[in-house]
């Protein structure tokens, strides 16, 4: 079963066009949605999570029309929003138990087993009786994934789950996600290229509400292989290079600036070839659409 998005468009009441005719096919497994801030990732995610309407287009998953059959979608959905709050005076155990029953897990025994397993799985067992208001950012995020996993969802949507987490927490989080069964569609949105590179076998890059690239990360990297060149320059020359080349990234190194550019052929002898990675793909796509990006 795969998720098919066709010609999806959305303009907000303030005139911002968040989604422009997006078409995507998302197979089972982990799917990465990569894009800069404000690219429309969250809009797309929320639309898939039944939280907002689209102006036109369709999203189909098997025979479920996600835009219309919202009740059915919600039964197979696990959703972790980008930003979420919790009731500060409730323990995670109680809250998960409550959400489980709202997700249709009506058998008490099963519910208990499930909640305990989730708490163990997300490594929250030892704080299960603590109020959610006392949780650190990482704990809260793991609680978030725990609640999304309730009821073996067929479609899991996690919106920038690792933003603000420290490296150890991020690793833990990745591990959690990657353990989820194979016959599930997991859509992970992020602006961190590494997340996608590590986890996803399929991905799409969106920018300014449009899909600018999609495919498997290796393939996408392959496409720019041999077209990325680097050079050490002086800071003040940057603008001149930008005028002449598609500078996709700049790094400061020991007082000088290392630039990467995208070019079909070696621009001149002062550039040397650089092995392409996913980050280069990403920056190639978005720099052609956005102005200055500095990493």
């Amino acid at each position: 079963m795969e998720l098919k998005i066709e010609n999806l468009s959305k303009t907000y009441s303030n005139g911002v066009q968040a989604l422009k005719n997006i078409s995507l096919t998302i197979p089972q497994g982990m799917f990465g949605l990569l894009g800069p801030n404000g690219a429309g990732k969250s809009s797309l995610m929320r639309t898939m999570a039944t939280l907002q309407k689209a102006d036109s287009g369709s999203i189909q998953m098997g025979d479920v029309d996600i835009l219309k059959d919202t009740d059915q979608v919600r039964e197979i959905l696990g959703y972790l929003p980008q930003e979420f709050g919790v009731y500060p005076k409730v323990t995670s155990y109680k809250m998960l138990d409550h959400i489980a029953s709202l997700k249709g897990v009506s058998n008490k025994g099963e519910r208990k087993e499930l909640v305990e397993a989730l708490l163990n799985k997300t490594n929250l067992w030892h704080v299960k009786d603590k109020n959610l208001g006392t949780y650190s950012g990482g704990m809260k995020q793991r609680f978030g994934i725990a609640q999304a996993l309730i009821g073996s969802p067929k479609l899991i949507i996690v919106d920038e789950p690792t933003a603000g987490l420290d490296p150890a927490e991020r690793v833990r989080f990745h591990n959690l996600l990657s353990e989820i069964g194979e016959n599930t569609i997991i859509i992970l949105s992020t602006h961190i290229v590494e997340d996608v590179a590590n986890l996803c076998k399929d991905m799409a890059i969106i920018c300014l509400g449009e899909v600018v690239a999609q495919g498997n990360p290796t393939e996408l990297t392959q496409r720019v292989q041999g077209k990325i060149w680097k050079k050490m320059i002086d800071k003040q020359d940057l603008d001149a290079y930008k005028a002449e080349h598609q500078v996709i990234s700049t790094h400061l190194k020991a007082g000088r600036t290392m630039i990467h550019i995208h070019s079909e052929a070696k621009p001149d002898s002062s550039f040397e070839a650089s092995p392409a990675n996913l980050e280069d793909v990403y920056f190639t796509e978005i720099t052609s659409r956005l102005q200055d990006v500095t990493v």
Binding site: S13, L51, Q52, E75, P81, F84, G104, V105, W125, M139
Partner: protein, 1212 residues
């Protein structure tokens, strides 16, 4: 730094649309008030009189606390709400600078907003005279001081101190809701003082306690006449000053406390102290990796959804009840209820037993305001709960149908409503238990609370859900919902549109009675409730369609979403709502507007005007008079109809011949009539000229009646109620407690009662101003007709009445026979001798308490008290009053004309007692359930009973003529007689308390006069003159000229005027002549002042001292000040008299308590001629003096009776 914060705050506020919205609301409201002339009070008071401006500004400031809490609550809270607290406080600013800046900035904003009202009033008053809503002469000239003075002292100071409190609450607790709760609590304190005002003994307490000073203003200005209200500003003195100092001072203190207490760290870390961080990560990877997430079964079915609905509703309900704001308001509201119930609704300052109906009635409009606001706020909380903690996205994506989430929230509020209605019962039952009253009548509680009140609250919830769903901003939702409610109130009360089918959640008023239970009211209530629940369901379902789930708040997508949500179930619910609404609406409409009719007050006034224009030509025309009346009445209380047949022997007592009968049927009201028979001498009368609109019809007589001719008229009509009306008690014929009188029959000719009385409206309809209704004392028509009825002079009377088998029916006369026929109970009554044409028909299930009275001359009178079986509390008190009255009146005036005196209880739909020949119907609420256990309380059951018994002499023995002033013969004399019986029973010392109430009522009555105050001699319509002033004047007169002496004058009056068969009938001049005859020359000035003029004294004790003499005696020096001023009818001062007046001067010891009553103990008490201005009196007493006074028993009319006495100080 302060100024930076201050200006930032001010600029920020000025850019907020809310600031200007508040300003606009006040501005528009002010225009509405000022152009519409909706300022209350007398018609003679200018719409923009200084007094009106002050009370309006003050009243608005009470509701202005909502603005104050909105504006003053947020400045500190804003930093929490937007999360700016964390960095904002890290700037180099000081706490005091921050607090002062935010505070003054917000206060300046509040002041600015408040100007909306003042500008609105000023502009409105300028436009008003030209707008045409109110006559131009009701506006006076603009005077800026009239706005500025009350603004400073009331309007702004109220906003200021309440603003201080709200600011402090939020700054110290971080909880914005506490500001709202604080506002509600201030409002409740105000309501409590309103309750206390019911007893004039609480004046000073009320003046001090009312946070807004309205009570203090009221107490100071309540006796101001229209003239004074038009010219004076309210002085800042006395209790008003203390009140302002107290409350404004409290505001300042609270703010200063906040200023010193506030501290950034405490503000930020408030919760950290007790907040334990969850422990740092333990490494548990292996366990986490090994854990398998089990497969679970999931059910999504209607049944499981329903279960979830109930569970979520319960959780939500628990959340609401745990809310501090909810608890605060609920506790305060219930305390208010309890308090109101506890102090009851005193009559003449005397409480009543804690009857269940009263415990239910305390949930009046003011309580419902609190409930409504609570419901609106809680609905906002509930609908925004997930969004508030940002849990809405997770929650919104859960597999719960919309109706489960929305429904659970709705259901939770329904639970809350259920709790709220039960609080009324809890408060009521607690009150009853604490007062030792155990007749709980839970059936009444259940019916009223569950069938009427509960559905009403649910319809409030439905409205709140509708608005809060459509408007996804919480605060805006609150404002709009409350505005809808206020709008309904304005349409209903201010714009005078009372058609309940147009006013969401409104229904006809109803009264619960012990005698008649919910009576006929319940049916209308239930249909109206159903009608509004149907409409409410439509609102609720519409709310469900538009309620925001998810993140998209765009209009387009919400409409699109609503269309999608409008599926099978929603359609079904909507259909059900429409069905119930239309169905119940059809029933209601049929009852209210087809069976009955609704007339707008405007139309009613117009009809009155047309009535006068069309028919006044028939005023005073000659019509026959009854001499003998025989009636046969069939009451069917079970179905609320009755038929009455009368045989009337009529005589043409006039000087002209009579061709036609002018029968004035009157405009048909709730009672629908059917003419069964109208014959004269056996010939059916035919309608001649008919004025259908006014129910006025002419019928040609078969043979004209020449002067002196006698004929027999037979008239039979049936009248009954149909369905239920939009408003109105329809209490003439009820299941238990019917009370009809001779007005069941039509009367002859034009009646002045149907005319418009208000000069304001008379002018609007181009009628001339009308000063008097009754003709002057020498008018021939007036002299030849009786005051209470011009269809007859004295008549002979008998009647038969049938009623329900378990009821007793009573009419004037003596019971001749009673029997049962066709399952109905029959009674036949016959009056011996003559009586005026004034009879009642009463019927209910009664128990009878009997006593006998034997007079000194051997007369015997059977006293019978017909009472509701449960109301036996005070029957002996009634009987005692009857006995004592008969004693006094038969000895001092003349023998009692009957052998029987009956007092009959009727349901509390009206609150009065009325004296028919040998029969006094007496309202259920008027003494039957009074609590007279404290001897200090006025025994008004005794007082009113003796008043009504006195009418057997003053009213029935002497039935006054239909001239102006004549009603004093009836009412002033009955009031005087009652005071005399009281004096005999309770002693002269106890009288001051009664007199004080008489004085208070008189002074308040004249302050609200719409035309001009009339004198005792020519007053025709002003009850405060004939009861209150009359009683006071005659009481003082007997004190001055001697009780026996005055009564001898009344005796000669009775001797010459009782049962006068022929005109001229008694006038006030005749009565006055008898009074003058027994008054010595030296006191004739008092008669002139009191009967012919309007005279007010200003008596006051100045510095008074005593010193102990060598012989152990005391020398007391009393300094008094006395003025006597004359006033015209408008209350304009005509100047002071320069003559001396006879006034009492007294020296007193400490009060003693005799038989539970406080009494003054005079050492010296004598009447002295006191010249105007200051005088000094010296007395030697043998005991130590404590207090001294001038007119210490308040016998004279004096607007500040309390300064007539003062403590004396020892001279060093």
């Amino acid at each position: 730094m302060f100024s930076e914060i201050f200006f930032f705050e001010l600029k920020y506020r000025l850019n907020r649309p809310a600031t200007w919205a508040y300003f606009g609301i006040l501005f528009v409201f002010a225009l509405f008030l000022s152009i519409g002339g909706l300022t209350g009070g007398s018609e003679k008071v200018f719409v923009n009189a200084p007094y009106s401006i002050a009370t309006n500004l003050n009243t608005v400031s009470i509701f202005g606390i909502m603005l104050a809490s909105a504006i003053m609550g947020v400045p500190v809270y804003r930093d929490i709400e937007h999360g700016t607290q964390h960095y904002f406080f890290s700037y180099p600013i000081s706490e005091k600078g921050y607090i002062l800046g935010r505070f003054t900035g917000s206060m300046a904003t509040l002041l600015l907003v408040s100007l909306g009202l003042i500008f609105g009033l000023i502009i409105g008053f300028a436009i008003g005279p030209y707008a045409g809503f109110e006559p131009a002469e009701r506006y006076t000239n603009f005077d800026f001081w009239h706005f500025l003075q009350p603004s400073i002292f009331y309007y702004w100071s109220n906003l200021f101190f309440s603003g201080c409190i709200f600011f402090a609450l939020v700054a110290l607790t971080k909880r914005i809701m506490l500001a709202y709760a604080g506002g509600a609590i201030l409002f409740i304190i105000y309501l409590v003082t309103l309750t206390l005002t019911q007893d004039i003994e609480n004046k000073d307490l009320v003046s001090l306690m009312d946070p807004f000073g309205l009570g203090a203003i009221g107490n100071l200005t309540q006796y101001w006449t229209p003239e004074e209200q038009n010219t004076l500003t309210i002085p800042m003195a006395g209790m008003i000053l203390w009140n302002r100092l107290l409350w404004v001072g409290m505001g300042i203190l609270i703010f200063v406390f906040t200023l010193f207490r506030f501290d950034f760290q405490r503000f930020l870390n408030k919760k950290l102290g007790n907040k334990k961080k969850a422990s740092i990560e333990k490494e548990g990877f292996s366990k986490a990796v090994l854990t398998e997430i089990p497969k679970v079964s999931r059910t999504f079915s209607a049944a499981s959804n329903f279960k979830l609905l109930v569970r979520l509703a319960w959780m939500e309900f628990r959340n609401i009840t745990k809310d501090l704001f909810f608890k605060a308001i609920l506790i305060a509201a219930v305390l208010f209820l309890f308090f109101d119930g506890w102090f009851g609704s005193p009559t003449y300052g005397t409480p009543m037993l804690p009857m269940t109906y009263y415990m239910l009635e305390v949930k009046s409009f003011t309580y419902v305001i609190l409930i409504f606001i609570l419901i609106v706020f809680m609905t906002g909380e509930v609908l925004h709960r997930e969004r508030g903690v940002k849990y809405d996205q997770i929650y919104g994506a859960l597999p719960l149908p919309n109706w489960v989430i929305y429904g659970s929230k709705f259901l939770a509020l329904v639970f809350v409503c259920f709790v709220l209605v039960n609080m009324i019962m809890v408060s009521g039952v607690c009150n009853q238990i604490l007062k030792g009253y155990f007749n709980f009548e839970f059936d009444k509680y259940f019916v009223d609370l569950y069938l009427v009140e509960f559905p009403k609250y649910i319809s409030y919830v439905m409205l709140a859900f509708f608005v809060h769903s459509l408007v996804s901003k919480k605060f805006l939702g609150h404002v709009i919902t409350i505005a809808v409610w206020a709008g309904l109130f304005a349409i209903n009360s201010l714009a005078d549109i009372g058609y309940n089918m147009f006013l969401y959640s409104y229904s006809p008023g109803y009264i619960i009675s012990d005698m008649n239970g919910f009576g006929h009211f319940l049916k209308g209530q239930n249909w109206f409730r159903l009608y509004w629940l149907g409409f409410g369901l439509i609102l609720t379902v519409t709310g469900l369609l538009f309620w925001k789930r998810g993140t998209d708040s765009g209009m387009k997508s919400r409409i699109q979403e609503a269309k999608e949500r409008f599926g099978g179930k929603a359609k079904l619910a909507m259909f059900l709502g429409v069905l119930v609404w239309i169905g119940a609406g059809a029933v209601v409409y049929y009852n209210v507007s087809v069976l009955n009719s609704y007339t707008k007050p405007d139309d009613r006034r117009e009809r009155s005007a047309n009535y006068e224009k069309t028919l006044s030509k028939y005023n005073y025309i000659n019509q026959p008079k009854f001499t003998d009346v025989k009636v046969a009445v069939d009451l069917v209380p079970e179905e609320r109809y009755a038929s009455m047949a009368g045989k009337f022997i009529m005589v043409n007592k006039g000087k002209t011949k009579i061709d036609s009968l002018h029968i004035n049927w009157g405009t048909e009201g709730l009672l629908k009539r059917e003419l069964l028979k109208l014959e004269v001498n056996g010939i059916t009368l035919k309608e001649g000229k008919v004025y259908e609109e006014f129910g006025y019809k002419l019928y040609a007589l078969p043979k004209p009646m020449m002067p002196g001719d006698t004929t027999l008229m037979e008239l039979a009509i049936k009248k009954g109620y149909k369905g239920f009306p939009n408003e109105g008690s329809g209490s003439d014929i009820v299941y238990n407690g019917t009370f009809l009188n001779n007005n069941f029959f039509p009367s002859f000719g034009y009646s002045l009662q149907g005319e418009l009385t208000s000069d304001k409206y008379r002018k609007e309809y181009e009628l001339s101003e009308k000063d008097y209704v009754a003709p002057s004392q020498d008018d021939e028509w007036g002299l030849s007709n009786l005051l209470f009825n011009d269809d007859a002079d004295y008549i002979t009377f008998e009647g038969t009445v049938s009623t329900a088998p378990d009821q007793i029916a009573i009419m004037p006369g003596y019971l001749q026979k009673e029997w049962v026929e066709n399952g109905r109970k029959f009674y036949k009554y016959k009056m011996e001798g003559e009586m005026d044409y004034f009879f009642n028909v009463s019927s209910a299930t009664y128990e009878i308490y009997k006593e006998d009275w034997k007079g000194k001359n051997g007369d015997e009178v059977a006293i019978e008290i017909f009472h509701h079986p449960a109301h036996d509390y005070n029957v002996k008190r009634f009987a005692k009053a009857v006995r004592h009255s008969l004693d006094y009146f038969s000895e001092n005036y003349s023998p009692y004309q009957y052998r029987q005196m009956r007092i009959i209880e009727f349901p509390r739909y009206q609150s009065f007692a009325q004296s028919f020949p040998n029969t006094v119907p007496y309202a259920e609420s008027f003494g039957w359930v009074g609590d007279f256990s404290d001897p200090e309380d006025t025994d008004y059951a005794y007082m009113v009973t003796s008043h009504e018994v006195a009418h057997q002499w003053w009213g029935h023995q002497i039935s006054p003529s239909a001239t102006r002033g004549a009603n004093q013969i009836s009412e002033s004399m009955a009031e005087y007689s009652s005071l005399m019986v009281m004096k005999k029973e309770y002693g002269v010392d106890a009288m001051q308390d009664f007199l004080k109430r008489e004085l208070d009522s008189y002074l308040r009555g004249r302050a609200g006069e719409n035309k001009f105050e009339k004198t005792l001699l020519d007053n025709d319509t002003q009850s405060y003159v004939w009861y209150r002033k009359g009683g006071l004047i005659l009481y003082a007169l007997q004190d001055y000229i001697g009780e026996k002496n005055l009564n001898s004058g009344f005796k000669t009056f009775i001797d010459s005027a009782a049962f006068r068969v022929k005109a001229p009938f008694a006038t006030s001049n005749e009565w006055y002549g008898h009074i003058k005859a027994v008054t010595p020359d030296s006191l004739q000035y008092y008669l002139e002042d009191s009967f012919e003029k309007i005279t007010l004294y200003t008596n006051k004790v100045g510095e008074s001292t005593y010193k102990k003499l060598d012989n152990g005696n005391y020398e007391v020096n009393i300094e008094v000040e006395s003025f006597k001023n004359y006033y015209d009818g408008n209350g304009k001062d005509l100047g002071a008299s320069e003559k001396s007046n006879l006034l009492e001067i007294g020296v007193f010891q400490n009060d003693t308590v005799v038989g539970g009553m406080t009494r003054k103990v005079p050492l010296v008490l004598e009447k002295k001629w006191v010249k105007p201005g200051k005088s000094t009196f010296t007395y030697i007493t043998d005991k130590m003096p404590v207090k001294v006074g001038i007119d210490p028993f308040n016998k004279m009319i004096d607007r500040i009776p309390d300064d007539n006495m003062k403590s004396v100080e020892e001279l060093e």
